[in-house]
């Protein structure tokens, strides 16, 4: 009798456990789904944080990073062609960045380029000449930011596309009339070349 009662109780317990599992299982499925979503989310975040910039858009990424970095250093900054055109009163290609530090009374004209220094030089020159038309006594610094590969080529003995830089980073070129490498100047101002971060 006791044995029969025990068997009956065991059977009831098994049925109850089965019912409980049946009731719980949807929430378990939900939990699994939540966990999977969390893992997927984690991977997505990780990818977003560590992914390299789109290779097809590396130049624009570099340009934007340079603009943002410089904007912190200058209390007046002009970071679009239109803004620079409007300030200086002309239409045409300009450098990427024009900034003014009122404490130091110093202007900065900066251009970010991957490889083509001819374009960079021309844009710096255009912007500087227009700035000096408007502010003839302006104190101006000129900078070109280039990518790592270009910077290393410029540092090498042979330079790149006729350009080279000295130990400080000043832009230079070989002058046949002098028979040596000389500083490249725009209105007497040297151009510092830096590697964009």
């Amino acid at each position: 009798m006791r044995l029969a009662t025990l068997k009956f109780s065991t059977t009831l317990l098994l049925i109850a456990t089965g019912l409980l599992f049946f009731v719980w299982s949807p929430s378990r499925t939900n939990m699994l789904q939540l966990a999977q979503d969390a893992i997927a989310q984690h991977h997505s975040d990780t990818g977003g944080q560590t992914a390299s910039p789109n290779p097809s858009n590396r130049g624009a990424d570099q340009e934007e990073r340079v603009r943002q970095m410089l904007a912190h250093e200058y209390n007046q900054s002009y970071t679009t062609e239109k803004a620079i055109n409007d300030l200086l009163g002309f239409k045409g290609k300009t450098a990427d960045f024009l900034g003014y530090n009122s404490e130091a009374r110093q202007w900065l004209i900066a251009e970010s380029k991957g490889t083509n220094l001819n374009h960079a030089f021309d844009q710096l020159e255009n912007t500087l000449l227009k700035l000096l038309d408007k502010y003839p006594n302006a104190s101006v610094e000129l900078r070109i930011y280039v990518n790592e590969r270009t910077f290393k080529l410029l540092q090498s003995a042979d330079g790149m596309a006729g350009w080279t830089i000295d130990g400080v980073g000043y832009l230079r070129a070989y002058n046949e009339a002098v028979g040596s490498v000389t500083d490249v100047l725009i209105n007497g101002i040297k151009i510092i070349t830096l590697q964009a971060l």
């Binding site: 220094l117 001819n118 374009h119 030089f121 021309d122 042979d158 330079g159 596309a161 006729g162 350009w163 070129a173 070989y174 002058n175 046949e176 009339a177 028979g179 000389t182 490249v184 100047l185």
Partner: protein, 204 residues
């Protein structure tokens, strides 16, 4: 081949001439590189050509010492670049005119091969002129280097001369390098004959 160890000091004029040729050839190489990088896009090439033409037409850029003025290394590079951009554009237009589908977003294989070939030859020529300058115009050293290139090309039995396929890139480079070395030697000899200091000669 025995090489004379004495390396004379080159005149500034000879150094400048070798630099000039190296920069011009480098400009040509960069022009074909530009065409390849932009997948033979005609509009991009035309815009670049126009940009350089306007740049050189600007009278303020002729000021002595300006990087775009004649006699500057940057200008020498552009003097090689601009006509070569036009060469590349002509090649692309001809290839597109003859291609059946006329697709403009891809480079037909033969066109890509031809652009690569021109780029490689020009790069090798630039390297040869730079080498000539770095070894101070030592003709013996240049002749030895030329012999090495000739030996490579004579042993490249599977390479059909004139085949521009990219799989023969090394042979193309040697062709360009040899051509550059020969021109560098000729330049040095010409200057020597015009009264420049005589570069060291090779004792066979």
């Amino acid at each position: 081949m025995k090489i004379d160890n004495h390396i004379p000091k080159m005149s500034i004029e000879v150094q400048s001439a070798l630099r000039r040729e190296a920069n011009r050839a480098g400009g040509r190489s960069d022009a074909f590189d530009f065409a390849l990088e932009h997948k033979g896009d005609i509009r991009t090439l035309e815009e670049e050509i126009q940009w350089y033409e306007e740049l050189l037409a600007n009278p303020s850029h002729a000021t002595p010492g300006h990087p775009f003025a004649v006699g500057m290394s940057v200008r020498n590079h552009i003097d090689g670049l601009l006509p070569s951009l036009k060469d590349a554009l002509r090649m692309i237009k001809q290839a597109r005119a003859h291609s059946k589908n006329g697709a403009e977003d891809t480079l037909p294989e033969t066109l890509a091969d031809a652009l690569h070939y021109e780029r490689t030859i020009a790069k090798a020529r630039s390297d040869a002129f730079t080498f000539a300058r770095k070894c101070q115009g030592h003709v013996g050293v240049l002749l030895a280097a030329a012999q090495e290139s000739e030996a490579f090309l004579s042993q490249a039995t599977g390479y059909p001369r004139g085949d521009k396929s990219q799989r023969y890139g090394r042979a193309h480079y040697e062709e360009g390098y040899l051509s550059g070395l020969r021109d560098a030697i000729e330049l040095l000899m010409r200057h020597a004959n015009e009264g420049e200091p005589q570069p060291a000669t090779t004792a066979a």
